[in-house]
Amino acid sequence: MTASDSTLRRFLHGLPGVDAVGLEARAASLGTRSIKTTAKAYAIDLAISMVDLTTLEGADTPGKVRALGAKAVHPDPTDRTTPATAAVCVYPDMVAAAKEAVAGSTVKVASVATAFPAGRAALSVKLADVRDAVAAGADEIDMVIDRGAFLAGDYMKVYDEIVAVKEACGTSARLKVIFETGELSTYDNIRRASWLGMLAGADFIKTSTGKVAVNATPANTLLMLEAVRDFRAQTGVQIGVKPAGGIRTTKDAIKFLVLVNETVGEDWLDNHWFRFGASSLLNDLLMQRQKLATGRYSGPDYVTVD
């Protein structure tokens, strides 16, 4: 199906359509699950362990990244039973600082690359960006697809780029492919992009950069979970999913975990297969965790600002 532009197009356009109302209704209905007590405690720790703690600012400095790394390793200094986050996520030039900050822990370093977030650069520049990050020790690369090419119907170009980036990742770095679902706009496009990314060798498919108006939603994440489920059923290959941007509260995070649980099941309930791209989410998870432990509502002064 990836033999030529036309076979790839035929395949992607032959995927089952998505009814937007039905998809959103299903996502909303799973959002009404009531997760209490022990289930909530489990979900909060799982969510913390799935966070890609992210800073992607022009103002990022080694100091800022070091603080972030410390927070990722020990999210709650008052409670050492709190799990570490999955990773810290930074720009390529901050990878070295991040590696240092999380050294000796389980926390991975993820780097956005490929002229993130717009991706508007020559392939050679994007690949150099990736190689830089990998060379600095990045465990994971979060690339953006060429949305312009995708929307212009140039699927093969998008595919080839992902293949090239995957190659640049080598054997050491896992590749997350960001679709920027808010720019792809339709659910049919999101399903096609998911399959395109998986066919091209993505280890993870990821909703968005966090830099546009609409980022991760329950509906687009549900749709991507359905895609990885179907992809594994057809190929035997398991792919991870990462919603990113806009997930700020424990309540939201638990809704996403319910989506995972009831769409793809426990095989994905692990930070090797599911991540949250987030920053402020972590503190809310920590406050809720403190509330469960102490019975008192916590406050922002009882979690660290990093």
Binding site: V21, G22, R26, L46, V258, N261, E262, E266, L269
Partner: protein, 478 residues
């Protein structure tokens, strides 16, 4: 699906509702014992716990209630529409205020999940009263000529599957148009109607405008046969509907019937598969399949049968059956022992006739009335389970090859209440919808309801429409 992520019990609090040990009949604004002192018990179908003891109306009580309604009719029908509207608006608001209480009550008495009573039944009940409240002073503009007159006393008999919602569908348009009512709730689910009686009192509704007579089939039969009833509205089985049609034959009683169905849910090979699976599940497992418009016959295009069945089975494995008060329960209890027996008999017949039965691994509670979600494959039009209404969580799967064949099979039924169409091709939706002989058709969705949307069947699914402007006609002398 066994998972590391086990949801802890999340029961809705029962304390929000206070069920008295006994309830009377509601006649002429007062709760009263039955003339012959008869009572019956109502139980919670999920536990078999006795919830309350209910006065059982007999013929004398029917007569008294009809007389009360007749007496109230004169003033009620003469009231300006705008005043009747305000009573209905009050009722709608009180229902909204008390919706959590009523949802828990309905779940206890009916056995359906709190998720449904909270998110479907109660919002629709309130919306129905709001909708018809607004009609009360606009009847001149409803398309039935100037100053359309009410019929008089409406005798209404409702089923147990959506006790309060069916009450709303009956009472709201009847009152808006100026009729007074005597309503008989089902014997297994009388409580929400009696709570509604209390809401009528809170709203200050004049005495006798609404009368509630709990009882069995004989109570309903007496009500329908009462010579001073002008309008008969019934929702329930086709067999009883036919009996009612015979009873009112030769009288001037206006009749509307909402009866059984065997809805075809047609899935074409270009359907949005994931949403279709949700629609199939919603179509047959909503309210344990105890829905007259359930999509109980799945017609799937043969070319995608295997793929769809795999997806459907995987999805059924995630359904959560158990305590209806648990907020995460998807499948609650069957409403009664009698209904459970009927489902069981028909399912056994399906197996005996050679259809292939499948259910997900599913532990049933030890007390109460339960039936696991069930699929039958290898079903043909000749199977009993493809023709008879099961009224339970049992889906019969048939295949078709072409759109013509799908339509022919869908229409090959004594019923004609609902149907579903799943395809991404817009013109096919319109072509197929056009050919289906059914009163409600859902394309790329299923089991959606709205007070503005007329509901009712073709053929032996009954006649007349409830909801929307159309729903007014049943209660007007036009």
């Amino acid at each position: 699906m066994a998972s590391a992520f086990e949801y802890a019990p999340a029961p809705e609090s029962r304390s929000v509702v206070d069920i008295a040990p006994s309830y009377g009949l509601f006649i002429d604004g007062e709760f009263t014992e039955a003339a012959d002192g008869k009572v019956f018990k109502t139980v919670s179908p999920s536990t078999e716990e006795v919830l309350s003891e209910i006065a059982q109306a007999g013929e004398a009580d029917v007569d008294r209630a009809v007389q009360a309604a007749r007496k109230a009719f004169e003033k009620w029908s003469a009231l300006p529409g705008s005043e009747r509207a305000k009573y209905l608006f009050r009722i709608a608001r009180i229902i909204q205020e008390r919706s959590r209480e009523l949802a828990v009550l309905e779940t206890l008495d009916n056995g359906k999940p709190i998720k449904e009573t909270r998110d479907a039944d109660l919002p629709l009940v309130a919306a129905h009263f709001f909708y018809y409240a607004g009609w009360a002073d606009k009847l001149d503009h409803a398309g039935f000529g100037a100053n359309p007159r009410p019929l008089g006393v409406a005798g209404q008999v409702i089923p147990w599957n959506f006790p309060l919602l069916m009450l709303a569908w009956k009472i709201a348009p009847a009152l808006a148009t100026g009729n007074t009512v005597v309503l008989k709730p089902a014997e297994t689910t009388p409580l929400s109607a009696l709570f509604f009686a209390d809401i009528c009192r809170q709203a200050g509704l004049p005495k006798g405008v609404v009368n509630i007579l709990p009882g069995y089939g004989d109570t309903g039969a007496a009500l329908i046969a009462h010579p001073d009833v002008n309008k008969v509205a019934f929702t329930g089985s086709t067999a009883v509907g036919k009996q009612i049609a015979r009873t009112v034959a030769g009288t001037r009683k206006k009749l509307t019937l909402e009866l059984g169905g065997k809805g075809a849910n047609i899935v074409f090979d270009d359907a949005p598969i994931d949403q279709a699976v949700e629609g199939i599940v919603n179509g047959i497992f909503f309210n344990q399949g105890q829905v007259c418009c359930a999509g109980s016959r799945l017609l799937v295009q043969e070319s995608i049968q295997d793929e769809l069945m795999d997806s459907l089975k995987r999805r059924l494995s995630t359904l959560r059956l158990g305590d209806p008060l648990d907020k995460n329960t998807d499948i609650g209890a069957i409403n009664s022992e009698e209904q459970l027996a009927r489902i069981t008999t028909l399912v056994e017949q399906g197996e005996a006739e050679g259809a292939e039965r499948w259910s997900p691994a599913c532990e049933l509670p030890s007390s109460g009335y339960w039936f696991a979600p069930t699929l039958f494959t290898n079903v043909t039009q000749a199977h009993t389970i493809a023709r008879d209404e099961i009224f339970g969580p049992v889906l019969s799967v048939l295949t078709f090859r072409t759109p013509d064949e799908a339509v022919a099979k869908a229409n090959n039924s004594q019923y004609g209440l609902s149907a579903g169409i799943w395809t991404e091709k817009g013109s096919r939706i319109l072509a197929v919808a056009n050919k289906l002989r059914a009163g409600v058709i859902w394309s790329n969705t299923f089991n959606k309801f709205d007070p503005t949307s007329p509901f009712g069947g073709y053929k032996e699914s009954g006649f007349g429409r409830e909801g929307g402007r159309h729903g007014l006609e049943a209660y007007l002398d036009v």
